[in-house]
């Protein structure tokens, strides 16, 4: 009898370690959750730092550090915080931490202000209640604050990390190298460009939906090496596959390829602000200001060929600036311009460039799937319309400061939509540039008074029907004015060992808490 009990006890307590080894191309930029709005950094830090609300598997909002909320008035939301939650250092989580984190994420040296945009103030009511006071009614408040992550006030103060690091000045702080969150996993160590090791937070308030107790994230830059690591069994999961290897991995009996799309649109931005295009042979004027030129550039691009050849089928040719899965997307408005180099030539001639013109395209070469190859293909497609493009491809680390300093005439960028609402893209990419969240990545400095008005109205319109119609109109206007050259929406298959099961996520953030490893 006693022996039987012992056996039962052993069966009932499966506390052995299960490790998920995950590899992707990029390393995180920092461990400070308020510093950089960068997909991989968020993907890794959400294991450790939590927000007031979070996404479910199918991207609905559910309680996280807040257990419930109510709209006291359209501009006043009250959140009841979860009791008994502890940070990894043991300190209790209270309203003070929320107020502190709000003040911190708003600091101008970070790039995550967009997740609290529209929030005027966070007011502590008592230790477990806060109120968010808004500038105006917000239809997407809950989706916006998913990535507003809570840090411990006492820990930050003790370690002199009340301020976000100045990333552009290469500043390091305690918080950019160490973490202290409330999440399911704690970071045991980060060796830049080598690995990040996570262990289970045994005191976590929530319940795992899988069995993973340890996670090792390995950034592997080289495509071939990353695939080899998966084939040899060194890693369990690869979330960015080289497109040319996907078919082969599908045929591998030891692997499983999980298909899914990503809510990211790849596009070319054009300088529509300067009176003379900086990197061009056109002097005294800016051809990109002319709608006919922008339309010609759009018409010359054979998006189907890029899909078929460069992406090996792993893209959806794009006509609008948001991807399927984003609220506001609709197939009937995502119309790809007809490929027509001759028509493009004619339009250019009408615009006063019968012999075409020249400009330089800045392109990252290690950020998006096949980024440089797509740029090369564009060069030859535009050449057929008579536009001679000089390709200036460089690593993302050199590319991003150049683009942020507006030192560009044309550039490739990809925009993922973390809030799953098209306003995020319109506000960042199309709204006239300001120093804040509005136009934060409108690097071509598009300025359309009518669109600005619509976008500002979108921020505060809560009637879903009215708002959806407005989103649609703004996306159509952006498309018809050819403010950008959208190329495609990325598809992102993941490959994993047979024994691994994890839901595919369109924001490219594998959730270890949902994963099972056999």
């Amino acid at each position: 009898m006693r022996a039987l009990l012992l056996v039962l006890a052993l069966i009932a307590a499966p506390v052995h370690a299960v490790t998920l080894k995950w590899a992707a191309q990029n390393d995180v930029l920092t461990l400070d959750p308020h510093s950089q709005n960068h997909a991989t950094t968020h993907a890794v830090l959400q294991y450790t730092y939590e927000g007031l609300v979070r996404y479910t598997k199918d991207y609905k909002i559910e309680p996280s550090l807040a257990v419930k909320w109510e709209e006291v008035s359209p501009t006043q939301w009250r959140f009841n915080l979860r009791k008994g939650v502890k940070f990894h250092d043991g300190a209790p989580f209270t309203a003070d931490d929320v107020v502190f984190s709000f003040g911190r994420i708003k600091q101008p040296q970070g790039t995550n202000q967009i997740y609290v945009s529209g929030i005027k103030e966070v007011k502590k009511i008592d230790d477990y209640t806060v109120e968010l006071l808004l500038d105006g009614p917000s239809p997407i408040l809950l989706r916006n604050i998913v990535d507003f992550r809570i840090m411990s006030k006492s820990w930050s103060e003790k370690n002199r990390s009340q301020n976000i690091q100045d990333y552009k000045a290469k500043e390091e702080t305690y918080a950019s190298r160490n973490t202290n969150g409330t999440g399911p996993y704690l970071i045991k160590g980060w060796e830049p460009d080598k690995r990040i090791v996570f262990a289970l937070n045994k005191d976590w308030w929530g319940k795992l939906d899988g069995n993973v107790t340890d996670v090792v994230y390995t950034p592997i830059k080289s495509d071939a090496t990353r695939v080899s690591a998966l084939l040899s069994g060194d890693v369990d999961l690869v979330t960015d596959l080289p497109t040319q290897d996907v078919e082969r991995l599908r045929k591998d009996a030891n692997l499983r390829v999980l298909d899914g799309h990503e809510v990211r649109t790849i596009f070319i931005g054009l300088d529509q602000y300067n009176d003379e295009l900086k990197y061009s042979n056109v002097k005294g004027k800016n051809p990109m200001k002319d709608l006919r030129v922008r339309r010609a550039l759009n018409m010359a691009v054979d998006r189907e060929a890029i899909k078929k050849v460069t992406m090996r089928g792993l893209s959806i040719p794009a006509g609008i600036m948001v991807a399927p899965g984003v609220h506001g997307y609709s197939k009937d408005i995502d119309l790809v311009p007809k490929v027509d180099p001759a028509g493009a030539k004619k339009l250019l001639a009408e615009a006063g460039y019968p012999d075409g013109f020249e400009f330089t395209l800045d392109c990252p070469n290690n950020r998006y799937v096949n980024d440089e190859k797509i740029c090369q293909a564009l060069v030859s497609m535009w050449a057929r319309a008579g536009v001679r493009v000089r390709l200036n491809a460089m690593p993302f680390a050199n590319f991003i400061p150049k683009i942020l300093n507006l030192d560009t005439s044309a550039y490739m960028l990809g925009w993922g939509v973390q809030t799953f609402d098209a306003l995020y893209s319109l506000q960042s990419l199309v709204r006239t540039k300001t120093s804040g969240a509005d136009g934060s990545f409108n690097q071509g400095r598009i300025s359309d008074a009518k669109l600005d008005q619509q976008i500002d109205a979108l921020k505060i319109t809560t009637d879903t029907k009215v708002r959806d119609a407005m989103l649609r109109e703004a996306l159509i206007t952006t498309r018809d004015q050819a403010y950008y050259v959208p190329l495609h929406h990325q598809l992102r298959p993941w490959a994993m060992k047979k024994g691994v099961s994890i839901p595919h996520s369109p924001d490219d953030r594998p959730q270890a808490r949902f994963a099972t490893v056999k």
Partner: protein, 302 residues
């Protein structure tokens, strides 16, 4: 008459006697000829962006069932004809190789002559610099020069200056061998009567160096230069393989191999294998010619 003289010359005789050398020479001539005549012979101009069609990309070689006759060796990932790209790429590789060897030669021979003739402190300084440089691999020095040039020069002009920068960096990395060889020979020649006589009648050092010493030290230099061409082509290919060489829109052999390398797993082997093969044939035949020249010019081996 002239042909007959050439035919009966020592070198020609030793050339005829070595079948390997004859094959190497023929291959070299074919490679160089194909490279020089690329603009007229190549089926496609791979640098004319408007002529490329992305829909033709990844076409296998003509003998494959999916291949087409238009692209005898297949196409790369942008729809460039591999054969044409190899011919144009070899042009760049050879051009960069020859130009950088010439640069090393001029630089190395001048320094070697100065060091060997004047000796003393000048000799010590030049040779210590040479020793220091010898302790770094040539590719590292080329990377260094290339990196510095890239930072120093404006980014938007990189494409125009990529090839001169490449020539400069490979040329700079290779001067030591010439300087050492020439210095040694010069030290020997310096003591010979004809040099002393020239000095006695009051010729200026520059004239002595260029008119009297230089012609007598060129033999070994030519041998080194021939072998060095092969090394320079390899260095260029390595730099381009690492992605710091010529711009991607004007691929050299090394760039082609790098591009093709990404597609080895997915089965498009021809993108990397044919340029690789071309590089091997070119380098091997130039090397064999250099070896033969070294043996033929060495009186001890005759």
């Amino acid at each position: 008459m002239f042909l007959k003289t050439v035919w009966q010359h020592d070198l020609a005789w030793s050339f005829r006697r070595s079948p390997v050398t004859v094959v190497a020479a023929i291959l070299t001539v074919v490679c160089v000829g194909a490279a020089l005549a690329a603009p007229w012979l190549a089926p496609q101009d791979p640098f004319n962006m408007a002529a490329l069609n992305l829909n033709d990309a990844f076409t296998p070689p003509a003998w494959d069932e999916r291949g087409v006759g238009r692209y005898p060796l297949g196409t790369d990932n942008q729809g460039r004809d591999i054969l044409s790209t190899i011919m144009h790429g070899a042009r760049i590789s050879l051009g960069v190789g020859l130009a950088s060897v010439f640069l090393s030669l001029v630089f190395g021979v001048s320094l070697g002559l100065l060091a060997g003739y004047f000796g003393g402190r000048l000799d010590a300084v030049i040779m210590r610099i040479a020793d220091v440089q010898l302790s770094f691999p040539a590719i590292l020095i080329a990377l260094l020069v290339d990196g510095v040039a890239r930072v120093a020069l404006p980014a938007e002009r990189h494409d125009d200056i990529a090839i001169p920068v490449l020539v400069l960096s490979i040329g700079f990395a290779g001067w030591v061998q010439y300087a050492r060889t020439v210095r040694g020979s010069t030290m020997v020649e310096r003591e010979k009567e004809y040099v002393q006589a020239a000095r006695v009648i009051g010729r200026r050092p520059l004239a002595i160096l260029l008119l009297h010493v230089l012609p007598n030290v060129t033999g070994p230099v030519l041998v080194i230069a021939t072998i060095h061409i092969a090394t320079a082509i390899i260095t260029e290919a390595t730099l381009s393989f690492l992605g710091v060489g010529v711009p991607a829109t004007r691929p050299s052999l090394g760039t082609l191999i790098r591009i093709g390398n990404e597609f080895l797993y997915s089965g498009e082997w021809w993108i990397t294998v044919f340029p690789g093969l071309a590089l091997v044939i070119l380098v091997l035949s130039v090397n064999l010619l250099g070896d033969w020249l070294r043996d033929a010019l060495n009186p001890k081996l005759r």
